[in-house]
Amino acid sequence: MTYAYYPGCSLKGTAIDYHTSAMALAERLGIELKEMEDWVCCGASPIHQRNPALASGVANLLLSLSKGISPQVAVLCAACYHNMKKAEVEMREDGKKRSEVEEISGIAFDPEVRTRHFLDILDKDYGLNALKEKVVKPLSDLRVACYYGCLLSRPPEIAFDDPEQPTIMERLLEAAGAETVSWSHRMECCGASHAVPLTHAVLRLVNDILQSARAAGAEVIACACPLCQANLDMRQAGILTKFGVAHNLPVVYFTQLLGLACGATGKEVMIEKGMVSAAPMLRAKNLL
Amino acid sequence: MEESHGTEAGTERVDQETTATSWEPRIVAFICNWCTYTGADLAGTSRMKYPPYVRVIKIPCTGRFDPLFMIKAFERGADGVLVSGCHPGDCHYTAGNYNARRKYTVFKDLLATLGIDMDRVRFSWISASEGGKWVDTIKHFTEVIRGKGPFREYREMIDVG
């Protein structure tokens, strides 16, 4: 199982823990994520608002880099996935758009190529049963709130699960022994794109999400998007100041939890990186 | 009936000069009784005008269309062949047109593989209410065939020896 891996810029910066833990998990599972060469930023999120054709052109360029590795392109970031998958589907289905994009990027589109989110790869290609077999340290007694945010499963044309009621993360984490909670705000927007210009709005949105997760009894939030993670994790201090609520709820990537379950060390999955560290809680449960 | 299949042409002697100078496109249309034939009737009752080079052969349903008909039409000198019936979902016999569509799909690719100019073959769905579409289709097809001229390649083959 070899995939052409596109990290995207966040995964090499703020979300290095996502990248590192995904690599550690993949290694444990025997999945090869081979990083494509010479990749560039996918352009999320301003480019597709300014020039949609150019955004698709960038995606086409990125998809073309998979040549020689695999037509299956593994992506971790929800925004990268969105941009690339959307362009891919459009190009496959709309000949006119395809020629426009091919012209702008100067690259012929390969209809065989497929953008795949790592969640989807684990679920469909690898399979829950195979994953279960690799679990050496079940996440027992850990109550996780799986957070999808607004982008990961939408719109329906590019969804790899029910776009309004996805369960893919729950299924994976339950396969690793965790208990997942049913909660209301799993699909709400965290307001990431407003983080700078409208911080107060974001604080409210994030507060609602964290509130809801805690009310459902979650001990940790798992997510699959660098911006969601950053926002939910980093805003907790601001929320304390503004609303006087101390959530103290760790927000981690699903790859970190799955990595631990499959025997990676805390260091390998960079579990200590979060602002609200998950380490003490996990240690208490003997998962570290 | 003991008639032979020979050409028993009327001896209306009108066209002494024939072909070279006064070539007229020959278009054969196999159309279904319920939709396209009735659509063509509607074009008539609405007094729409279209070029007079199309010859209609009525079949009950496009399901009755056997690709042999098309080959025979070309063999008899057709410059273009149209097959038209009810839109998907409208077939008087519920599914004749769906079966026909499969035949078209296969047969058109075969013709293309053999080098038949696919501009000379046309498939359409024309409903009983689409008199205008019938007229447009015939107009356009006639123009295309006019532009292409006689189907010389096929005729040369027929005329060998």
Partner: protein, 689 residues
């Protein structure tokens, strides 16, 4: 040599204005095999027809081409005329020189030439026409009605009142269908059960109606006028002839916690049960899946208390055969699945709305039960979770319907009306409550319908918000409904005590199995298809089968009843004759060359082709061949075009006829190539020279 007559009509000036009709007649005379040709001003007039008849007798014609208007116009007229002159009507064909020629072309040489060619083409066809006899089919004057909802009930009663026997098959233990579940009906707000139950009783007691409840159609053979139906009577475990319907068994049954289908899970029932008090027949049935005796092997409480000794645990499914001439399909609808587990696995549902997880999120039929006087709350609007009166109820329309990303594009048609009705019923019972409605559009065409919706809004104060809801979740005692009000452009959050989802109207799950048995077509959603969307909305394309109600598409009660009466009328038209005549345009198999590959059998849209065994005198199988049932065949010719060895042909459109038409096609004087190998040197060019 054929003796064909050609009759060229001027149609007043309709044809002669652009076509030189006289020349067409003269030219026709020259076509080999034409014995007589003439032109006349109005061929369809009495003198015109007389002219044809006279010529047939005088020239002993064996074929006729009337060169005039479209066959759709006058084919019947001329065939009748020909028949009156002693010729088989199928030896008459029409060359359409009006709609396809004179009316669509200018007055030019080419137009007259085209007319001549069209005549020639038909002459060549008629030469190969053969006399055909109409097919006579006996009619069994009994009808089968499938489905005992209001549509099936109406159709059965109408046919039975017309004096014919009816077999009514209902899959559930009682007739009544969904209408029996409704509280009040729009736009009059009269009580649904009050108007339906008398009809149910009629159906149960009508001398012409044989009722099979808890039964399903297992198999259908035959064709219009002559269907043979096998009905599976599911084991009821109760002898309904002995049973008096006293209900003792229900009271004593220890298995009491089974969600009631009739009350859509809002109330429980016992394992032996009469689905609802007004059921017809008012006889119980044992639900073997839940019965303690059937699951654990002991109990027999019902048998012990039954005073009539009607409980029969040994009963098995029984199969009965009935012969009928016509069939009405009235299988009705079910609702779109909103929870994760539903009967429509192809559709995604609305997990995000929490249906099935939160008891206070219900669908429209559940609300009907809540509002019904015979319902679980006795008609009080109380929310299922704790029995409190909800002070704020949010109604969501278009759940499933008009939502392509959930798999459905159509409009369910009845939800706008019943939601308006729901808001009224709610407001009439909870005066201080608020009813919110999220809608996309309000569709209320129909007599008194729009007025009804306006009343809900204006008099009863339902709050209509134009927009959709993204999510519903519980927050303490309330449900938070997050949606958009697109008219004000605001995102709205409503604290609701109860949410009602107006889910899409779908065909009964798995109904395509029945449709396939019947040989009728259905659309992508599995709604049955009518023969023609405008002009034959009650018939199926398969002769003798008619549609009533929501099995065809979403319909409300009056539409269903009207269509049911229409279907009943169609059945009675069918039954008005002892035998039927059918056009003999049917397929026929050449048994010598048929190789039994069964392509024809598979492509036939009407299941008119079956396998036939040819045996020698000793009974040894020689070969199998395809056989066409001429009573079922409708003459589409798909089989003929599919057969590789052309071992099946279609009367009226035979290979020979079409071949001859193609051969005759080439323009006069342009015929460069005579038929290869035959009559060389006879091409018109050379003749001309």
């Amino acid at each position: 040599m054929s003796k064909i007559g050609v009759f060229v009509c001027h149609c007043g000036e309709n044809i002669s204005r652009t076509v030189d009709c006289e020349r067409v007649a003269r030219a026709s005379e020259q076509i080999r095999g034409v014995a007589f040709a003439t032109d006349y001003k109005y061929m369809c007039s009495d003198p015109g027809q007389a002219l044809i008849k006279k010529a047939i007798r005088e020239y002993e014609l064996d074929g006729v081409v009337v060169s005039s208007c479209s066959p759709h116009m006058h084919e019947k007229t001329f065939r009748k005329a020909v028949e009156e002159a002693g010729l088989n009507p199928f030896l008459c064909e029409m060359a359409n020189i009006r709609e396809h020629c004179s009316w669509v072309h200018e007055k030019e040489e080419t137009t007259t030439r085209k007319a001549i060619e069209l005549v020639r083409l038909m002459v060549e066809k008629v030469k190969r026409n053969v006399a055909l006899e109409p097919i006579r089919v006996n009619v069994t004057k009994r009808a089968l009605v499938i489905g005992g909802g209001v549509g099936g009930i109406q159709a059965a009663l109408d046919i039975a009142d017309g004096g014919h026997e009816v077999i009514l098959v209902e899959k559930d233990p009682s007739v009544g269908g969904h209408m029996a579940q409704l509280s009040e009906t729009f736009p009059t707000l009269d009580c649904s059960q009050c108007i339906l139950t008398p009809k149910m009783v009629d159906v149960g007691s009508h001398p012409n109606i044989k009722l099979y409840t808890y039964s399903e159609v297992e198999k259908i053979e035959g064709f219009v006028g002559n269907f043979k139906v096998t009905i599976k009577k599911k084991a009821r475990s109760v002898d309904i002839d002995k049973c008096t319907g006293c209900g003792e068994c229900q009271l004593k049954c220890p298995s009491k916690k089974i969600p009631s289908e009739f009350d859509r899970g809002l109330k429980n029932r016992t394992a032996i049960y009469i689905p609802f008090p007004q059921a017809v027949p008012a006889r119980p049935v044992i639900d073997r899946e839940h019965c303690i005796y059937f699951t654990k092997g002991k109990c027999k409480a019902c048998q012990k208390v039954c005073p009539a000794g009607a409980i029969d645990y040994e009963q098995t499914d029984e199969y009965v055969e009935e012969e009928v001439g016509g069939i009405v399909v009235a299988t009705g609808f079910d609702l779109y699945t909103v929870g994760e587990q539903g009967p429509y696995p192809d559709y995604r549902g609305y997990g995000e709305y929490g249906y099935g997880e939160d008891p206070d999120i219900i669908d429209g039929l559940q609300f009907e039960r809540l509002a019904s006087a015979s319902g679980p709350t006795g008609g009080a609007i109380l929310r299922p979770s704790d029995g409190k009166e909800p002070k704020s109820v949010v109604f969501l329309k278009c759940i499933g319907s008009r939502h392509p990303s959930k798999g459905i594009e159509f409009c369910s048609k009845i939800c706008c009306m019943y939601t308006a009705k729901h808001t009224m019923l709610y407001k009439h019972k909870v005066h201080d409550g608020t009813a919110y409605v999220f809608y996309m559009d309000i569709r209320s065409p129909g007599k008194g319908y729009d007025e009804f919706v306006r009343r809900a809004i204006e008099e009863d104060g339902a709050v209509y918000l134009r927009g959709r809801v993204s999510r519903i979740y519980r927050s303490g005692d309330h449900l938070i409904v997050k949606g958009a009000d697109t008219l004000s452009g605001a995102a709205v959050e409503i604290e609701a005590d109860m949410v009602v989802l107006a889910t899409a109207v779908m065909p009964q799950p798995g109904i395509e199995g029945l449709f396939q048995k019947l040989g009728i077509s259905y659309d992508q959603y599995k709604f049955a298809n009518e023969a023609h969307p405008k002009l034959r909305p009650v018939e199926c394309a398969t002769a003798g089968i008619f549609l009533a109600g929501a099995c065809q598409g979403p319909k409300d009660i009056p539409e269903t009843v009207a269509q049911a009466s229409g279907a009943a009328s169609k059945v009675q038209i069918l039954f008005s004759r002892d035998e039927m005549l059918r056009e003999p345009v049917v397929a026929k198999v050449n048994e010598n060359t048929c190789i039994a590959c069964w392509y024809c059998l598979e492509v036939c849209p009407f299941k008119a082709i079956t396998q036939k065994e040819i045996r020698d005198r000793k009974g040894n199988l020689i070969k199998r061949v395809a056989e066409v049932n001429p009573s079922v065949c409708t003459g589409c010719g798909t089989c003929a075009a599919t057969c590789f060895s052309n071992s099946i042909d279609l009367a009226g459109f035979t290979d020979e006829q079409i071949y001859s038409e193609i051969n005759a096609l080439m323009a006069v004087g342009q015929d460069l190539f005579p038929e290869p190998g035959k009559e060389e040197g006879e091409s018109p060019d050379e003749q001309a020279a």
